[in-house]
Amino acid sequence: MEFNTQLLYAHDQALLAVMIFVIMLGMGASLTPDDFRAVIRKPKGVFIGFMSQFGLMPLIAFGLATILNFPPAFAIALILIGCLPGGTTSNMFTYFSRGSVALSISMTTASTIMALIMMPILLKLYTGGFTAQISASMQLSGGEAEFVIPTMNIISSLILVLVPVAMGMFIRKHWPDWAKTAEDTAGFVGILVILYLLLTAFIRHGHLFLQTPIGVYIGAVGLGLAGFFFGYWFSRLLGVYPLFQRAISLETGIQNGPVSFAIILLSFSEPVQSQMVWLAILYSTFIVITSSVITLRYRKNGRKDWDIYKNTSIHNRLFGESYVTNYPQGFLPKRLVNDPSQGTQPSQKKF
């Protein structure tokens, strides 16, 4: 497939840069140093999440790219997205799916740091075959160059992206009112820019939609969905409580989209860059829809265990840490019988 049109003009790139800045600033504004400490205090959930995010997700991306026979640039982009850390979007979806927001935040912070080490390793591991294909086609068309994943560039773009996050945290510490504003604005700006990009892509390059193989669409949609599915069952099989299960599931499927734009723009160049950006746009669009649907489903299914968790923890908040809430026999689902607080209140554990 020929994919020569330049997808983004200079002003689009500038807009993207602004968006990345605003969103990462918003992400930082929602974080406190305590969130980082929480990771160390309760490492179990974060560890399971880590396995799911950096173990399962890249594998899913690789699997999808291979099965659906992705063109190499799209494949690299998909794997890149699969290796990304989580973002704040997942925290919001976790909140509405009645999952553990605390765990979601911990996973976001942990994965953002861990990505510095994990992303280069994982990319090397999974993209080998695809980079070779690109090198081959480049040599065929007369070039000498060999295509390699720009590891150092990726690490430095990741670090660069962390700058606004740190700024956001600084704002949160000193001007909490501004921080809240930054948080609210970030999500809004994100949606606006994605819609703008989609719209302009549609107007300027309508043929792009037709040129993109159907498999790529399936991959862009399927990556998130498979992440939700495997994240859910992986954590469930490990005996995690429903509250955390929903958080891990969403955190696994939802990646930090803006970071992918940053990495692609800063570290890759044509002929692969436009295709990669295109896939990132597709993923970012579809993930909002799929995670909305999944969230509504989780929200409904999680109603009972969430109500139990809420009630139990409010009893502990108001009646004292050592208060034990005993529900009538047969009321609690099997998985919650030992601990209706779902691992959040030590006093509930009786075994």
Binding site: D177, D184, N311, L318, F331
Partner: protein, 643 residues
């Protein structure tokens, strides 16, 4: 609804709840913001049985009337439990009861044993005691207070009973099995809006039918916040309902409600319109005080929510349909609404999640529903909360119907109405003068929908009658139907809409009938008007008595110290005049004869117990009497001063 306990009477409800929910908290009392004292279902029942045995030992007979004079507190419910377990009925009243009422109630109900909450009440009852020969025992609830001679302490009566039960006293069990569904569980004296107190006789079967028929999907993880006066039937039905599904009732108060909502995160509560007006004010103030960007985001969110919900209401046929609509109009509008719904959906989804959720967290964030009753909820408040995503279900009823006749269901939420009648309940709309049935009436178009008239009700919740007042009972019932005295209409989606109280209807000298409530609610939308009452019976035109919001005038820059000064201030008078003009103009849908021609500012506000009932309804006759001279002056010249 499968989690609710089914029982034949309230005593059995208490016992079955204890057997099922055992150590779950039934009630919680506030010690401080984050420190509450729970009482479990088991403890409640056991203590209740102890107290009941103690009362029986003191000579309490089955079906006797026991007085409880107390505001909301755990001991209240303990007394209620004991009274039910002993097969008797209670006569409750709050601390604000006047001496006259106290005497009337104890005498009229033939009370021999009375609980009093505080030392102050104890002293007042003691003073009346020599005129009340039947009154034998006074029991003091407040365990910190010192009892006077001849008064027993609650814990002593409990101890007495607990000792007896330890020795195998089974009288409580016998009493419970002797309760019949037709027995009274309570006798409630309503001060109402007119006349002397009436004793409403409510049966076990009345309350049990309410517990069975109230809408809602609750279970033992629910938390219910209690703010309304417990002796009022609306609050009581909610507490019994809560017992039936195993929830915990948290006793809050008007002063601490904001804080308690955030800490308790209630899932359900009963409330009066005034509470929602206060919350509405507070939310808007909070928005105004927030960062400018967030203010803009809030307004966008509210706007989107309004668009979204209005289309949703249209598509699902859940909007106020006072008149029959042409099929064609609906058919033509439908695609437009569907289109708007689809376009707005993603934006609404985002703003709902990012902005409106923060607002909802301000009221705890866990509310599944709240029922507003005891007065009409102003339409703009109603809309506001439903747009916010806080489902306020407005209900309608009266003490005589223990109390719910109809309520909006979450799935049947038509803003502006009080919903369809609850199960097992029938409603009629009747022409008040002639007694002709307007709805249901097959001879009228649409079986009588959108016909205005008096509401009559029939169902298992309707009272036995007024105690020792067969004449009034006979007047209130007609062919087995209870005449509510309220005006209403059945909308075209089968919901009841309340139009006003037929007794408060103002008939102008021109013969035009005016319902003052909608006009008053409209006027109260102004920040400058705290409370108001429309007057003009038998006059040429309407006028209004206004309690101005003094703090708003101060904020507007008026240098005012007292209400008297404010009433005379020319600027203030000008502002009020403009407000009245703006709010009740014919452009706003008010008819010509509904125009307010003149007004007076009152030097003091309407207070609960004086001009207002406990549910903030204006006692019109009291206000009319008290401000007789002002009203006379308003209409002295026969024509308005400022026209």
């Amino acid at each position: 609804m499968g989690h609710r306990i089914k029982a034949d009477n309230l005593a059995l409800l208490y016992r079955k709840a204890a057997d099922k929910f055992e150590s779950l908290p039934a009630f919680a009392t506030r010690v401080s913001a984050l420190d509450w004292k729970p009482v479990s279902y088991r403890e409640l029942y056991e203590q209740g049985a102890d107290l009941a045995t103690g009362l029986i030992e003191l000579g309490l007979k089955q079906r006797e009337h026991v007085g409880i004079f107390s505001d909301n507190r755990f001991e209240w419910i303990l007394c209620d439990c004991a009274v039910q377990l002993s097969g008797s009925a209670n006569v409750p009243r709050g601390r604000d009861v006047t001496d006259d009422e106290l005497f009337y109630i104890i005498d009229h109900a033939g009370i021999e044993i009375a609980f009093v909450e505080t030392v102050e009440l104890q002293d007042r009852v003691l003073k009346l005691k020599n005129r009340l020969p039947a009154l034998r025992e006074i029991i003091l609830l407040d365990h910190k207070a010192k009892e006077k001679e001849g008064v027993k302490r609650l814990e002593d009566v409990c101890k007495l009973g607990s000792g007896l039960r330890a020795q195998g006293d089974k009288r409580v069990e016998d009493r419970i099995s002797a309760i019949k569904p037709d027995d009274l569980f309570t006798l409630i004296y309503t001060s109402g809006t007119t006349g002397k107190p009436k004793g409403v006789m409510l049966k076990h079967s009345n309350m049990i039918s309410q517990v069975r028929n109230l809408p809602g999907y609750h279970n033992c993880t629910d938390r219910v916040l209690s703010v309304l006066p417990i002796w009022h039937i609306f609050e009581r039905v909610i507490e019994m309902y809560t017992l039936s599904f195993g929830g915990c009732t948290f006793y809050s108060s008007i002063v601490t409600i904001g804080e308690d909502m955030r800490n308790v995160e209630p899932t359900f509560m009963a409330s009066a319109p005034r509470l929602w007006e206060k919350l509405h004010e507070r939310i808007l103030k909070g928005v105004k005080a927030s960062h400018p960007v967030r203010q803009i985001l809030f307004h966008i969110a509210y706007f989107l929510s309004r668009q979204y919900k209005n289309s949703e209401y249209f598509i699902t046929d859940k909007y106020l349909k006072m008149n029959k609509e042409a099929r064609l109009k609906r058919f033509l509008l439908m695609p437009l609404h569907i289109l708007r719904w689809i376009i707005v959906l993603p934006w609404y989804g985002f703003f709902n999640a990012a902005v409106l959720e923060r607002i909802r967290l301000g009221v705890g964030g866990s509310l599944k529903a709240t029922i507003s009753g005891g007065g009409a909820l102003p339409i703009h408040i109603d809309k506001f909360f439903n747009y916010m995503g806080i489902p306020v279900l407005e209900g309608y009823g009266m003490t005589e119907t223990s109390p719910v006749i109809s309520v909006r269901y979450i799935k049947d939420l038509v803003v502006g109405t009080v919903g369809p009648p609850i199960p097992e309940t029938e409603i009629r709309i009747v022409e008040p003068e002639t007694g002709t049935v307007l709805y249901p009436n097959p001879n009228l178009p649409d079986n009588g929908l959108s016909q205005r008239g008096e509401i009559w009700a029939k169902g298992p919740q309707v009272m036995k009658g007024y105690y020792r007042d067969p004449e009034l009972t006979q007047l209130t019932f007609k062919d087995g139907w209870l005449r509510t005295g309220d005006l209403g209409v059945i909308t075209h989606n089968n919901c009841l809409k309340i139009l006003g109280r037929s007794k408060s209807t103002i008939v102008l000298s021109s013969g035009e009938n005016v319902e003052p409530e909608p006009i008053e609610m409209r006027l109260q939308q102004s920040h400058f008007i705290d409370q108001c009452m429309v007057v003009g019976q038998d006059k040429k035109y309407l006028s209004v008595l206004i309690v101005p919001g003094i703090s708003e005038f101060r904020q507007a820059g008026l240098n005012i110290r007292t209400m008297e000064e404010l009433a005379l201030n020319a600027d203030a008078n000008r502002i009020i005049r403009e407000e009245i003009k703006r709010l009740t103009s014919t452009n706003n849908g008010f008819k010509r004869f509904e125009q307010i021609k003149d007004f007076r500012m009152l030097p003091q506000s309407f207070e609960v117990g004086r001009e207002l009932t406990n549910l903030f309804k204006i006692k019109r006759h009291v206000v009319e009497q008290k401000f007789n001279h002002v009203i006379d002056e308003l209409f002295a010249n026969g024509s308005p001063k400022n026209n």
